[in-house]
Symmetry: C2
Subunit: 213 residues, 2 copies
DNA sequence: CCACAAAACATCAACGAATGCAAACTTTCA
DNA sequence: TGAAAGTTTGCATTCGTTGATGTTTTGTGG
């Protein structure tokens, strides 16, 4: 069902040559950037090189992405839509903790598996956790998305959940998962182990930090 | 060159003219930057203007700060030291949740009150939550500090606390407080109300998200 | 007090990211 | 087909950041 979502998003309103061409250059830019970044590193790759690789002018790059960092973060919006949809379509009397855990599981499942190849995903994650500029940009995106999710949650449980409670829940879960994943990866764990650790962290957070020690 | 940046820290026992002068230009740069940012905005202020205001060359700016953003984040290191000290000096059988809440309270208390004036602090916070570049930088700093705190925690409770548990605890608390503060400020709350809300969020997190709804 | 080493600073030059602008080009559609 | 709308491009410019190199300032031993 997530494939459908993507397809709808990208191809439904696309009749003409114009749109298709735009799509192709967009993809070409992303692929060129990813290839060059993996090959020479992020800072070592210039926008001019990326543009040349995708056969467009340097200037054109900026009509597709607002910044160099955004080439790697182009799909983060669709993730937000996913979880907003989960919130909107929750069961009528699904308890908050259940919904939260469902969201976490969904997000984790679709972290390792996005539409580009597994190899591409791996280097994307490596770059995002390694390169300071990308790390900063990703954290900012995640943060503002959390705000929107918190507001959606409060809306969904309106009357039964204050803004502070909703924000606390979302912030705590996301914060725990984020930190645990990076800590896990940094000590040498594989991606699967990191995801497993994040799930564990989410459970701890739902159960309460008071359960520790 | 990292060493160079480090030795600019505030020190009590400084003999030479050299060190005192360095301290003075450091402070001059910070004050000039803050004044200009408040006056004309962050992006609208150039490094050349800041340097001119502090009577140094543009090049010299970079021997005091690694980037334009860092002028406003120069004291965040001392905050990390504070909480690391709290962890190191905990009571021999202080339970984890108690220590955590003590850390949160301490951090919140020292957020509104730093060494420069209250007015300066207010504009600093406004800039950091408003200007994208500053927001991103601040989030990145906070994040890497969380990792260090988690490791310190695990060390302090060694044997009784896994890395995943420590990271989950720190990440959850910091994430909840961060999101709640911004959500609170964005809906128009005062600083005091935001701090109060953050404290509430920390309590919810310790108690467990399962207690909601 | 003076010379010498080291640190801090300035000047100059260069690179890359990002933006505005207007000309050239492509697609659409009446 | 031809005008309108949208896209790409080259050019100029601004700004942050870094490196190389020379100059001033400061601390120290003779």
């Amino acid at each position: 069902m997530d494939e459908k979502l993507k397809c709808v998003q990208y191809s439904s309103a696309m009749a003409g040559i114009r749109e298709r061409k735009k799509q192709r250059t967009h993809q070409a830019l992303v692929e060129a950037a990813l290839r060059l970044f993996a090959e020479k590193g992020y800072e070592e790759t210039t926008l001019a090189e990326i543009a040349a690789e995708a056969d467009v002018s340097t200037r054109t790059f900026f009509s597709y992405f607002a910044s160099k960092e955004d080439v790697l973060l182009h799909d983060i919006d669709s993730r937000l839509e996913r979880t907003l949809a989960l919130v909107a379509g929750r069961g009528p009397d699904e308890a908050l903790p259940d919904l939260l855990m469902r969201i976490v599981r969904d997000a984790l499942a679709h972290m390792a598996a996005d539409d580009s190849g597994a190899e591409a995903t791996r280097t994307r994650i490596r770059l995002m956790t390694t390169v300071p500029a990308l790390q900063a940009r990703a954290l900012r995106l995640l943060f503002s998305n959390q705000l929107r999710i918190a507001r959606a949650l409060q809306e969904s449980y309106h009357g039964r959940l204050s803004l502070v409670e909703a924000a606390a829940a979302v912030g705590a879960l996301a914060g725990a998962a984020k930190l645990v994943i990076v800590a896990s990866v940094e000590r040498g764990d594989s991606m699967e182990q990191a995801v497993e650790a994040a799930l564990q962290a989410a459970e701890i957070t739902v159960r309460g930090l008071g359960s520790l020690t």
